[in-house]
Symmetry: C2
Subunit: 270 residues, 2 copies
């Protein structure tokens, strides 16, 4: 059926390949220039300066719906590469880029929709990547629950100003908050500042990750993977918690195994 093929608009990391592996029909893979996905053959390349010719190429290839997956840093625009049609969209794109990542992504989704594509989320094509509520590994003490609740409140406040999606809380104290550099940098920073937990009996603390309040679930859902667990263990935390149904877990079976090995809990918090 024409127009029903799915394209993955892929950024860096392992998510695009994980998604492709779970889809019934092989997708067309378009990679954002400079942000190659891991372990996936790329069919098309896209640069923001040549967005309109790219959208027309997708049309020609029979693509009807697209899914965004993988990490892309905010690109610097090279005016020399602009085509005329994309140039007319530039004021909208630049305005959005000045207002933050969420605004940029919202405008990109709008543009795809204006060109007639359906933009779908990970929920729709690979629900199994988003674990529902439950303690997946280990045990969660009342102290851990309290730390996760405080971290959830912090992440919600940060999300409202379009900053990160994660925070580390131990014994009620906020040891660090995720900003542009991301989760791995945050956990390394917490490891480096060392132990700031006044009372050993009150738990080792938690890294918590969640979607932003009101986040468009078709783009930029937070992601955890085995490296998050390694980072949490190195930071001396007791476990990792995340918002059930809204956080992508890459390689969940390896995460199960590794959390057990590292003695961490892994909790999809309702």
């Amino acid at each position: 059926m024409t127009g029903m093929r799915t394209a993955i608009i892929a950024g860096q990391g392992r998510l695009p390949a994980a998604l492709a592996g779970l889809m019934a029909e092989p997708p067309l893979v378009a990679a954002v220039d400079g942000f190659p996905p891991d372990g996936l053959t790329v069919d098309l390349r896209v640069r923001i300066e040549r967005l309109v010719p790219f959208l027309r190429a997708l049309e020609r290839d029979g693509v009807g719906q697209v899914i965004f997956a993988g990490a892309v840093a905010r690109p610097r625009l090279d005016p020399a590469l602009l085509d005329e049609a994309t140039a007319t969209l530039l004021p909208r794109l630049m305005g959005a880029m000045a207002s933050g990542d969420d605004a940029t992504l919202r405008v990109v989704i709008e543009l795809f929709e204006e060109f007639g594509f359906r933009v779908v989320g990970v929920d729709e094509v690979a629900h199994e990547l988003l674990p529902g509520a439950g303690v997946l590994v280990g045990t969660v003490s009342p102290m851990d629950e309290a730390d996760a609740a405080r971290a959830a409140a912090i992440v919600a406040a940060l999300g409202s100003v379009d900053v990160g999606q994660g925070a580390v809380v131990a014994q009620g104290l906020c040891l660090g908050v995720e900003a542009l550099p991301g989760t791995d940098v945050l956990l390394a920073q917490v490891a480096e500042i060392g132990v700031l937990r006044p009372d050993p009996a009150r738990g080792r603390g938690v890294f918590y990750k969640a979607a932003k309040p009101g986040q468009d679930r078709r783009i930029d859902l937070p992601t955890l993977g085995p490296e998050t667990l390694r980072g949490a263990a190195a930071a001396g935390l007791g476990g990792v918690a995340f918002q059930a149904g809204s956080v992508i877990c890459l390689d969940l079976s390896e995460m199960h195994r590794l959390a057990g090995e590292l003695g961490l809990f892994l909790w999809a918090r309702p």
Copy 2:
């Protein structure tokens, strides 16, 4: 006049001595055990486990008002040190400590007031430590203004969940946010992650500091000093901005000199 002497309840750092130097009458200096102030002779020591005997000692010494100044980490309580009167206050103190630093400080202020002391803020005894609106050093570009405005929104959101009072924003991107480890650690982290500024023409970014929304101004006002400027320069930032009238500047003349030497702007933002 009896009961009108002022006591500084001093934590770590240079603020207690700076305050004492600006007061008309020499204050009584009470130091929180384990957090000695710099360059100040200590008259009394206080531990939270012996709060009531300490309050009675202040009364005996003719103290009528107190001012809190300097940094204190959340203490671990040693039950063996508790006296009977302080023990009756413990449920209130512990409950507050579990809810965060602001809650703890609010309860400590309440207790001082219940014992008949007036609790005053830095504004009242040393207004000159809180610079009013104006560009103190250098020039602030429209890009810097935009970065400072975004940082102010982030700090306000963080303050609403009782996290830090500072953030680093460059070209609209949030490079880091202050949590428990404080300003110096944040700036060192931004220095370590290196340059994440897509467009050199759009400014080097700003560290911004402000009081929390609704903060009790008698306690824990944010503080800047020469070391903040050194940290901002090492992080590659263009300058430091802060909320006019609500941020304590330690050693302002040295901050003027140093900002000039380091090529940073210093801006008390209205």
